[in-house]
Protein backbone atom coordinates (compact mmCIF):
# COMPACT_ATOMS: atom_id res chain seq x y z
CA UNK A 1 0.00 0.00 0.00
CA UNK A 2 2.67 2.42 1.11
CA UNK A 3 4.84 1.56 -1.89
CA UNK A 4 1.95 2.04 -4.30
CA UNK A 5 1.07 5.47 -2.80
CA UNK A 6 4.66 6.63 -3.25
CA UNK A 7 4.52 5.61 -6.92
CA UNK A 8 1.29 7.57 -7.51
CA UNK A 9 2.79 10.66 -5.83
CA UNK A 10 5.84 10.46 -8.01
CA UNK A 11 3.71 10.19 -11.14
CA UNK A 12 1.59 13.18 -10.07
CA UNK A 13 4.70 15.11 -9.21
CA UNK A 14 6.27 14.38 -12.59
CA UNK A 15 3.07 15.32 -14.40
CA UNK A 16 2.88 18.65 -12.58
CA UNK A 17 6.56 19.26 -13.24
CA UNK A 18 6.05 18.60 -16.94
CA UNK A 19 3.10 21.03 -17.08
CA UNK A 20 5.06 23.78 -15.33
CA UNK A 21 8.16 23.23 -17.48
CA UNK A 22 6.06 23.14 -20.63
CA UNK A 23 4.30 26.34 -19.60
CA UNK A 24 7.57 28.15 -18.95
CA UNK A 25 8.96 27.05 -22.30
CA UNK A 26 5.76 28.07 -24.11
CA UNK A 27 5.78 31.54 -22.49
CA UNK A 28 9.46 32.03 -23.30
CA UNK A 29 8.76 31.20 -26.95
CA UNK A 30 5.76 33.52 -27.22
CA UNK A 31 7.24 36.42 -25.25
CA UNK A 32 9.54 37.85 -27.95
CA UNK A 33 6.51 38.14 -30.22
CA UNK A 34 4.60 40.10 -27.60
CA UNK A 35 5.79 43.44 -28.94
CA UNK A 36 4.88 42.46 -32.49
CA UNK A 37 1.41 41.41 -31.44
CA UNK A 38 1.08 44.68 -29.54
CA UNK A 39 2.25 46.74 -32.52
CA UNK A 40 -0.05 44.88 -34.85
CA UNK A 41 -3.12 46.31 -33.17
CA UNK A 42 -4.79 49.10 -35.01
CA UNK A 43 -5.51 51.94 -37.28
CA UNK A 44 -9.25 51.92 -37.92
CA UNK A 45 -10.12 51.31 -41.54
CA UNK A 46 -12.89 53.86 -41.55
CA UNK A 47 -12.98 57.33 -40.12
CA UNK A 48 -10.11 59.74 -39.58
CA UNK A 49 -6.78 58.83 -38.02
CA UNK A 50 -5.04 62.09 -37.30
CA UNK A 51 -1.33 62.75 -37.16
CA UNK A 52 1.27 65.30 -38.14
CA UNK A 53 4.18 65.46 -40.53
CA UNK A 54 7.16 67.69 -39.79
CA UNK A 55 9.65 68.68 -42.45
CA UNK A 56 12.80 69.53 -40.51
CA UNK A 57 14.48 71.00 -43.62
CA UNK A 58 11.77 73.61 -43.83
CA UNK A 59 11.70 74.72 -40.20
CA UNK A 60 13.29 78.15 -39.78
CA UNK A 61 12.85 78.32 -36.01
CA UNK A 62 10.67 81.43 -36.01
CA UNK A 63 8.62 80.20 -33.05
CA UNK A 64 5.27 81.17 -34.62
CA UNK A 65 3.88 77.72 -33.84
CA UNK A 66 4.87 77.92 -30.18
CA UNK A 67 3.21 81.30 -29.81
CA UNK A 68 0.09 80.31 -31.73
CA UNK A 69 -0.29 77.15 -29.65
CA UNK A 70 -0.21 79.17 -26.44
CA UNK A 71 -2.74 81.73 -27.73
CA UNK A 72 -5.08 79.17 -29.24
CA UNK A 73 -5.22 76.98 -26.17
CA UNK A 74 -4.97 79.71 -23.51
CA UNK A 75 -1.77 78.33 -22.00
CA UNK A 76 -0.20 80.93 -19.69
CA UNK A 77 3.01 82.44 -21.03
CA UNK A 78 4.76 82.05 -17.70
CA UNK A 79 5.82 79.76 -16.16
CA UNK A 80 7.18 78.31 -19.33
CA UNK A 81 5.10 75.26 -20.05
CA UNK A 82 4.54 74.29 -23.65
CA UNK A 83 2.23 72.03 -25.59
CA UNK A 84 4.61 72.44 -28.49
CA UNK A 85 8.11 73.87 -28.62
CA UNK A 86 11.09 74.09 -30.96
CA UNK A 87 14.63 72.90 -30.20
CA UNK A 88 17.79 73.90 -32.02
CA UNK A 89 20.25 71.05 -32.36
CA UNK A 90 23.83 71.98 -33.15
CA UNK A 91 26.29 69.20 -33.87
CA UNK A 92 29.77 70.60 -33.41
CA UNK A 93 32.91 69.56 -35.26
CA UNK A 94 34.11 67.75 -32.13
CA UNK A 95 30.92 65.65 -32.31
CA UNK A 96 29.35 67.11 -29.19
CA UNK A 97 25.72 68.10 -29.53
CA UNK A 98 24.25 71.34 -28.18
CA UNK A 99 20.48 71.44 -27.72
CA UNK A 100 18.84 74.79 -27.02
CA UNK A 101 15.29 75.95 -26.65
CA UNK A 102 15.19 79.44 -25.11
CA UNK A 103 11.58 80.07 -24.02
CA UNK A 104 10.61 77.03 -26.05
CA UNK A 105 11.72 78.95 -29.12
CA UNK A 106 8.76 81.29 -28.71
CA UNK A 107 10.83 84.44 -29.24
CA UNK A 108 13.08 83.00 -31.93
CA UNK A 109 16.64 81.77 -31.70
CA UNK A 110 20.04 83.37 -31.76
CA UNK A 111 22.93 81.19 -32.78
CA UNK A 112 25.11 80.52 -29.73
CA UNK A 113 27.82 78.41 -31.39
CA UNK A 114 30.13 80.23 -33.85
CA UNK A 115 29.87 79.16 -37.50
CA UNK A 116 33.37 77.69 -37.68
CA UNK A 117 32.65 75.19 -34.88
CA UNK A 118 29.41 73.91 -36.43
CA UNK A 119 29.23 70.65 -38.33
CA UNK A 120 25.48 70.80 -38.79
CA UNK A 121 22.61 72.63 -37.16
CA UNK A 122 18.84 72.32 -37.51
CA UNK A 123 15.56 73.01 -35.74
CA UNK A 124 13.27 70.29 -34.41
CA UNK A 125 9.68 71.21 -33.55
CA UNK A 126 8.29 68.94 -30.84
CA UNK A 127 4.81 68.14 -29.62
CA UNK A 128 2.79 65.22 -28.30
CA UNK A 129 3.41 62.30 -30.65
CA UNK A 130 -0.22 61.14 -30.39
CA UNK A 131 0.96 57.57 -29.83
CA UNK A 132 -1.33 54.74 -30.82
CA UNK A 133 -0.03 52.73 -27.85
CA UNK A 134 0.52 55.59 -25.45
CA UNK A 135 2.57 54.86 -22.34
CA UNK A 136 0.76 57.77 -20.65
CA UNK A 137 -2.65 56.20 -21.25
CA UNK A 138 -1.47 52.86 -19.92
CA UNK A 139 -0.35 54.27 -16.56
CA UNK A 140 -3.32 56.55 -15.81
CA UNK A 141 -4.94 55.04 -12.70
CA UNK A 142 -8.39 56.53 -13.31
CA UNK A 143 -8.83 56.57 -17.09
CA UNK A 144 -8.49 60.34 -17.30
CA UNK A 145 -6.26 60.20 -20.35
CA UNK A 146 -7.17 58.20 -23.37
CA UNK A 147 -6.88 57.76 -27.12
CA UNK A 148 -9.89 59.22 -28.91
CA UNK A 149 -11.52 57.24 -31.74
CA UNK A 150 -9.67 59.57 -34.13
CA UNK A 151 -6.29 58.63 -32.66
CA UNK A 152 -5.75 61.79 -30.61
CA UNK A 153 -4.47 61.40 -27.06
CA UNK A 154 -6.61 63.60 -24.83
CA UNK A 155 -6.89 64.48 -21.14
CA UNK A 156 -10.17 64.49 -19.27
CA UNK A 157 -9.45 67.57 -17.18
CA UNK A 158 -12.58 67.12 -15.05
CA UNK A 159 -11.53 63.63 -14.04
CA UNK A 160 -7.73 63.94 -13.80
CA UNK A 161 -6.36 63.64 -10.27
CA UNK A 162 -3.10 65.41 -11.03
CA UNK A 163 -1.06 62.42 -9.83
CA UNK A 164 1.62 63.09 -12.48
CA UNK A 165 2.08 59.40 -13.39
CA UNK A 166 1.57 60.18 -17.07
CA UNK A 167 4.13 63.01 -16.97
CA UNK A 168 6.73 60.48 -15.87
CA UNK A 169 5.55 57.88 -18.36
CA UNK A 170 5.69 60.10 -21.45
CA UNK A 171 9.01 59.39 -23.16
CA UNK A 172 8.78 62.65 -25.11
CA UNK A 173 8.28 65.01 -22.17
CA UNK A 174 5.17 66.56 -23.66
CA UNK A 175 2.99 66.68 -20.53
CA UNK A 176 2.90 69.21 -17.72
CA UNK A 177 0.68 70.40 -14.90
CA UNK A 178 -1.26 73.42 -16.08
CA UNK A 179 -0.67 76.12 -13.43
CA UNK A 180 -4.24 77.42 -13.84
CA UNK A 181 -6.25 74.20 -13.74
CA UNK A 182 -3.74 72.20 -11.67
CA UNK A 183 -4.36 69.10 -13.75
CA UNK A 184 -2.33 67.57 -16.55
CA UNK A 185 -2.24 69.40 -19.83
CA UNK A 186 -0.88 68.41 -23.21
CA UNK A 187 -1.20 68.93 -26.95
CA UNK A 188 -4.69 67.94 -28.08
CA UNK A 189 -3.76 68.32 -31.74
CA UNK A 190 -6.22 71.24 -31.49
CA UNK A 191 -9.07 68.76 -31.08
CA UNK A 192 -11.62 71.61 -31.02
CA UNK A 193 -10.33 72.81 -34.39
CA UNK A 194 -9.74 69.56 -36.22
CA UNK A 195 -13.18 68.20 -35.32
CA UNK A 196 -14.59 71.30 -37.02
CA UNK A 197 -12.58 70.66 -40.16
CA UNK A 198 -9.83 73.18 -39.41
CA UNK A 199 -6.09 72.65 -39.26
CA UNK A 200 -4.15 72.88 -36.00
CA UNK A 201 -3.07 76.37 -34.93
CA UNK A 202 0.63 75.51 -35.25
CA UNK A 203 0.26 74.21 -38.80
CA UNK A 204 -1.91 77.20 -39.72
CA UNK A 205 0.66 79.83 -38.77
CA UNK A 206 3.78 78.03 -40.01
CA UNK A 207 5.28 80.37 -42.63
CA UNK A 208 7.15 77.65 -44.53
CA UNK A 209 4.72 74.75 -44.32
CA UNK A 210 7.10 72.73 -42.16
CA UNK A 211 4.17 71.32 -40.21
CA UNK A 212 1.62 69.26 -42.07
CA UNK A 213 -1.51 68.31 -40.20
CA UNK A 214 -3.72 65.66 -41.70
CA UNK A 215 -5.66 62.44 -41.68
CA UNK A 216 -3.48 59.42 -42.38
CA UNK A 217 -6.52 57.49 -43.64
CA UNK A 218 -7.39 60.20 -46.19
CA UNK A 219 -5.64 59.01 -49.34
CA UNK A 220 -6.20 62.34 -51.09
CA UNK A 221 -4.90 64.28 -48.10
CA UNK A 222 -1.75 66.32 -47.60
CA UNK A 223 -0.32 64.12 -44.85
CA UNK A 224 -0.86 60.96 -46.86
CA UNK A 225 1.07 62.52 -49.75
CA UNK A 226 3.82 63.70 -47.37
CA UNK A 227 4.26 60.17 -46.02
CA UNK A 228 4.18 58.68 -49.48
CA UNK A 229 6.69 61.04 -51.07
CA UNK A 230 9.18 61.31 -48.24
CA UNK A 231 11.16 59.00 -46.03
CA UNK A 232 10.02 59.78 -42.53
CA UNK A 233 10.93 58.63 -39.06
CA UNK A 234 9.33 58.87 -35.66
CA UNK A 235 11.05 59.84 -32.42
CA UNK A 236 12.21 56.96 -30.20
CA UNK A 237 10.92 54.31 -32.59
CA UNK A 238 12.50 51.59 -30.44
CA UNK A 239 9.96 52.29 -27.69
CA UNK A 240 7.18 51.08 -29.98
CA UNK A 241 4.80 53.81 -28.89
CA UNK A 242 3.04 53.95 -32.25
CA UNK A 243 3.91 57.63 -32.66
CA UNK A 244 1.95 59.50 -35.32
CA UNK A 245 4.23 62.53 -35.63
CA UNK A 246 6.41 61.80 -38.63
CA UNK A 247 9.67 63.68 -39.16
CA UNK A 248 11.31 64.11 -42.54
CA UNK A 249 15.11 64.54 -42.44
CA UNK A 250 15.31 63.51 -38.80
CA UNK A 251 18.87 63.17 -37.59
CA UNK A 252 19.71 60.18 -35.36
CA UNK A 253 21.09 62.68 -32.81
CA UNK A 254 17.57 63.82 -31.98
CA UNK A 255 15.92 62.25 -28.96
Amino acid sequence: MGVKKTKTDRREFLEKLAIIAGGVIAVSIVKPFGSILFAAVKRPETGPWYGMGINISKCIGCGNCVKACKSENDIPNEPFFFRTWVEQYTIKNDETVVVESPNGGMDGFSQSVPDEEIFRSFFVPKLCNQCAHSPCVQVCPVGATFESPEGVVLVDSKYCLGCRYCIQACPYGTRFINPVTNVVDKCTLCYHRIMNGQSTACALVCPTGARIFGDINDEEGELHAFLKENITHVLKAHLNTGSKVYYKDLSPNVH
Binding site: I60, F123, D156, Y159, H192, V205
Partner: protein, 148 residues
Protein backbone atom coordinates in the same frame (compact mmCIF):
# COMPACT_ATOMS: atom_id res chain seq x y z
CA UNK B 1 -24.75 18.49 2.65
CA UNK B 2 -22.90 21.85 2.55
CA UNK B 3 -20.80 22.43 5.66
CA UNK B 4 -22.03 25.42 7.71
CA UNK B 5 -18.76 27.35 7.43
CA UNK B 6 -19.06 27.30 3.63
CA UNK B 7 -22.57 28.72 3.87
CA UNK B 8 -21.40 31.50 6.18
CA UNK B 9 -18.46 32.32 3.92
CA UNK B 10 -20.74 32.40 0.88
CA UNK B 11 -22.96 34.95 2.57
CA UNK B 12 -19.97 37.11 3.49
CA UNK B 13 -18.67 36.94 -0.08
CA UNK B 14 -22.08 37.73 -1.53
CA UNK B 15 -22.30 40.83 0.68
CA UNK B 16 -18.80 41.99 -0.30
CA UNK B 17 -19.51 41.50 -4.02
CA UNK B 18 -22.90 43.19 -3.67
CA UNK B 19 -21.39 46.23 -1.93
CA UNK B 20 -18.68 46.41 -4.61
CA UNK B 21 -21.26 46.36 -7.41
CA UNK B 22 -23.39 49.06 -5.76
CA UNK B 23 -20.36 51.27 -5.10
CA UNK B 24 -19.17 50.76 -8.65
CA UNK B 25 -22.56 51.82 -9.97
CA UNK B 26 -22.57 54.95 -7.82
CA UNK B 27 -18.93 55.98 -8.27
CA UNK B 28 -18.48 55.36 -11.99
CA UNK B 29 -19.03 58.69 -13.75
CA UNK B 30 -21.68 59.09 -16.43
CA UNK B 31 -20.65 57.88 -19.89
CA UNK B 32 -17.55 56.09 -18.57
CA UNK B 33 -16.76 53.06 -20.69
CA UNK B 34 -19.08 53.91 -23.57
CA UNK B 35 -16.22 54.16 -26.03
CA UNK B 36 -13.30 52.86 -24.01
CA UNK B 37 -11.74 53.15 -20.59
CA UNK B 38 -12.65 56.84 -20.28
CA UNK B 39 -15.60 59.23 -20.03
CA UNK B 40 -17.05 59.54 -23.53
CA UNK B 41 -18.27 63.02 -22.55
CA UNK B 42 -14.63 64.10 -22.21
CA UNK B 43 -14.51 64.12 -26.02
CA UNK B 44 -17.18 66.82 -25.99
CA UNK B 45 -15.34 68.70 -23.22
CA UNK B 46 -12.20 68.74 -25.32
CA UNK B 47 -14.11 70.06 -28.33
CA UNK B 48 -15.73 72.77 -26.25
CA UNK B 49 -13.14 75.50 -26.76
CA UNK B 50 -13.43 78.59 -28.89
CA UNK B 51 -11.24 78.77 -31.98
CA UNK B 52 -8.86 81.73 -31.77
CA UNK B 53 -7.11 81.54 -35.13
CA UNK B 54 -9.59 82.17 -37.91
CA UNK B 55 -7.48 81.80 -41.06
CA UNK B 56 -6.66 84.21 -43.92
CA UNK B 57 -10.15 84.01 -45.43
CA UNK B 58 -11.61 85.79 -42.43
CA UNK B 59 -9.32 88.80 -43.05
CA UNK B 60 -9.81 89.15 -46.78
CA UNK B 61 -13.34 90.56 -46.73
CA UNK B 62 -12.36 93.80 -45.03
CA UNK B 63 -8.63 94.19 -45.66
CA UNK B 64 -8.66 94.06 -49.43
CA UNK B 65 -5.68 96.32 -50.04
CA UNK B 66 -3.40 94.33 -47.74
CA UNK B 67 -4.65 91.05 -49.18
CA UNK B 68 -3.81 92.18 -52.69
CA UNK B 69 -0.37 93.48 -51.73
CA UNK B 70 0.35 90.41 -49.68
CA UNK B 71 -0.56 88.01 -52.48
CA UNK B 72 1.80 89.67 -54.95
CA UNK B 73 5.15 89.22 -53.24
CA UNK B 74 7.46 86.89 -51.38
CA UNK B 75 5.47 86.94 -48.16
CA UNK B 76 2.36 85.61 -49.90
CA UNK B 77 2.62 82.23 -48.16
CA UNK B 78 2.60 83.77 -44.71
CA UNK B 79 -0.64 83.56 -42.78
CA UNK B 80 -1.99 86.93 -41.58
CA UNK B 81 -2.30 85.75 -38.00
CA UNK B 82 1.29 84.53 -37.90
CA UNK B 83 2.44 88.14 -37.45
CA UNK B 84 -0.76 89.84 -36.26
CA UNK B 85 -1.92 87.28 -33.71
CA UNK B 86 -5.25 85.47 -33.30
CA UNK B 87 -8.17 87.28 -34.92
CA UNK B 88 -11.24 85.89 -33.11
CA UNK B 89 -11.89 88.90 -30.87
CA UNK B 90 -11.17 91.37 -33.64
CA UNK B 91 -13.52 89.53 -36.00
CA UNK B 92 -16.43 89.69 -33.59
CA UNK B 93 -15.79 93.29 -32.46
CA UNK B 94 -13.55 94.97 -35.04
CA UNK B 95 -13.79 98.40 -33.46
CA UNK B 96 -12.91 97.55 -29.89
CA UNK B 97 -10.28 94.82 -30.37
CA UNK B 98 -7.30 95.64 -32.51
CA UNK B 99 -4.62 93.26 -33.63
CA UNK B 100 -0.94 93.92 -33.13
CA UNK B 101 1.16 95.62 -35.78
CA UNK B 102 4.52 94.21 -34.83
CA UNK B 103 7.40 96.66 -35.00
CA UNK B 104 11.07 96.69 -34.33
CA UNK B 105 14.07 94.97 -35.83
CA UNK B 106 13.87 92.02 -33.47
CA UNK B 107 10.49 90.94 -34.81
CA UNK B 108 11.78 90.49 -38.35
CA UNK B 109 14.93 88.90 -36.92
CA UNK B 110 12.89 85.98 -35.63
CA UNK B 111 12.81 84.68 -39.20
CA UNK B 112 15.55 86.62 -40.98
CA UNK B 113 18.47 86.65 -38.53
CA UNK B 114 21.33 84.63 -39.96
CA UNK B 115 21.45 81.22 -38.31
CA UNK B 116 23.32 78.08 -39.33
CA UNK B 117 20.17 76.02 -38.73
CA UNK B 118 18.09 78.04 -41.21
CA UNK B 119 17.97 76.53 -44.67
CA UNK B 120 19.74 79.19 -46.78
CA UNK B 121 17.69 78.79 -49.95
CA UNK B 122 14.39 78.97 -48.09
CA UNK B 123 14.65 82.38 -46.52
CA UNK B 124 16.54 85.64 -46.91
CA UNK B 125 18.98 85.89 -44.01
CA UNK B 126 20.83 88.94 -42.73
CA UNK B 127 23.16 89.63 -39.85
CA UNK B 128 20.65 91.96 -38.27
CA UNK B 129 23.21 93.91 -36.23
CA UNK B 130 25.10 94.82 -39.43
CA UNK B 131 22.22 95.34 -41.89
CA UNK B 132 21.50 99.11 -41.81
CA UNK B 133 21.28 99.21 -38.02
CA UNK B 134 20.15 102.84 -37.94
CA UNK B 135 16.80 102.09 -39.62
CA UNK B 136 13.69 100.16 -38.69
CA UNK B 137 13.04 97.29 -41.15
CA UNK B 138 9.66 98.66 -42.17
CA UNK B 139 11.18 101.99 -43.23
CA UNK B 140 12.57 100.24 -46.33
CA UNK B 141 10.52 97.05 -46.58
CA UNK B 142 6.76 96.97 -46.67
CA UNK B 143 6.04 93.84 -44.64
CA UNK B 144 3.12 92.95 -46.90
CA UNK B 145 5.29 93.42 -49.97
CA UNK B 146 8.94 93.32 -48.89
CA UNK B 147 10.50 93.85 -52.35
CA UNK B 148 8.34 96.74 -53.45
Amino acid sequence: MIPPQITRLSIVFAIIIGVFLVLRLILTPVSFGEKGHYRALALIDNMDHEMHYMGNESCQNCHELETEMHASDLHSDLPCEGCHGPAYLHNSKPDSFHLVKPEGRQFCAKCHEQNAARPGDLINQKIIAEHNPEYQCIECHNPHKPWE
